[in-house]
Amino acid sequence: MADAIAVRGLVVDRGGRRVLHGIDATVPRGSVTGLLGPSGSGKTTLLRAVVGVQVIAAGTVTVLGAPAGSPPLRHRVGYLTQAPSVYADLTVRENARYFATLHGRDRAEADRAVADVGLASAAGQLVGTLSGGQRSRASLACALVGEPELIVLDEPTVGQDPVLRADLWARFHALAATGTTLLVSSHVMDEAARCDRLLLIRDGRLIADDTPAAVRAAAGVDDLDEAFLRLIRAAEPDPSGEAR
């Protein structure tokens, strides 16, 4: 089957600085792919290019067989921005229902998305009065509500307690089992182990595109955090010497 996302030679400049230096990567359909890398490495920029809101300098991004951001894809792709992008002066339910309507879904589906992120009891609360973790789950509900074929999530589990994080990851895998493709960014290495595949990015360059097991094997260590460090050192013999 064709890949859900194919990125070829992607170059992006932001604010006069090169942020992505020619990324080549693919994301298979029906999988959970983790996009891992330190803060400032270009994760959000890559995700923005995938959902088609990023101006790109060179390269192509093909999503579900169409150019990223093309109108037919807007029904098929769900996007969670890094900062919770929901209306603080609406309730959780009103937010979910609005985004459901944009995707042609009904109220029942909006309410189900709210329940799926564990906010059923807070559905009538204004988003502005929620805790940070609840607020980002409200935002997540709005990304899941249209049952998109591709879900792009920028750090969805930040600020969530361990139990909720485990629940959310279980939910991501349940979605993948039904054929949905998920691309999930994180800078927490212990989440990498939960992914089917990993894209490791540093300073705008891809340094690994493999399964967690293969990344461990390539680095020769069991711990993914340590494996990531070794891959960085292997890619850049003198990391301190490189101009930023």
Partner: protein, 251 residues
């Protein structure tokens, strides 16, 4: 545009407004308070012979100003909030068309402006005895149209603002010259030629002229309908320009 998405967007914006009780209270109360000030300012001023009283002349034009000033500010900030909170970026990845969003704001805040104008007009006519030769319904219609124009200008200007500080600065830039040159302070035909020329290209001048027509003519005049059409066209033009400056992709 998609009617279902447009309707949902109008509903969403009005729901946001409804949850913000203090803003609703300010929208309703401020015009009444200001009209009260104007009423007592001119209470002892004699009316020029054969002309409407000073209060009638000024209050009528002010009924058009309130929705214009307030909806411009409200819209600039609301649209900037969409940008800074990331909701705009997310909306642009959904099936929502740019015109759904912009006309959604135009309709929602246009309705809010109409309600505001309705309440302010009720106070002006019933409490302060405002007299106009023409119908109060026309006054409210023109005031509501001013609200739509202000929303459209606010949406367009918010494209050029990156922060709230910048957005608020557009108010003196866009609103103040239109207030000064609209003909309330100095009749337009008594201004210097170059001021008249500027006044001629500012849409609020036509809204004020339309209100003055209602003030002095029992039946709607051709001039009034022409002015209404100009204001409506300016609003649509500003909305189209706002759509053209709204980019799905950004750096």
């Amino acid at each position: 545009m998609n009617p279902r998405i447009l309707a949902a967007t109008v509903g969403r914006i009005l729901r946001q407004l409804r949850h913000d009780r203090r803003t609703v209270a300010l929208l309703v109360a401020v015009p009444t308070v200001l009209l009260t000030l104007v009423y007592y300012m001119y209470a002892d001023q004699p009316a020029p012979p054969g002309q409407p009283s000073t209060f009638d002349r000024i209050a009528l034009v002010m009924l058009g100003f309130f929705p214009f000033i307030i909806m411009f500010l409200v819209t600039s900030i609301a649209m900037l909030r969409e940008r800074t909170t990331g909701t705009l970026e997310r909306l642009l990845t959904t099936p929502l068309a740019k015109t759904d969003l912009l006309f959604g704001y135009g309709i929602a805040f246009g309705l809010a402006g109409a309600v505001q104008a309705g309440i302010a007009s009720a106070v002006a006519y019933w409490v302060f005895g405002l007299q106009t030769a023409g119908s109060s319904a026309l006054v409210i219609m023109i005031a509501a149209l001013n609200a739509v124009l202000a929303v459209a200008l606010g949406l367009l200007c918010s494209a050029f603002a990156r922060t709230e500080f910048q957005a608020v600065q557009f108010m003196p830039v866009v609103v103040a010259p239109q207030l000064l040159l609209c003909g309330l302070f100095v009749p337009r035909d008594e201004m210097a030629g170059w001021l008249q020329a500027i006044s001629d290209v500012l849409p609020l001048s036509y809204a004020v002229e339309a209100l003055q027509e209602v003030g002095t003519h029992a039946e709607p005049t051709g001039t009034m309908w022409r002015d209404v059409a100009i204001v409506a066209a300016a609003a649509v033009l500003a909305l189209v320009l706002a759509a053209a400056t709204l980019r799905r992709r950004s750096g």
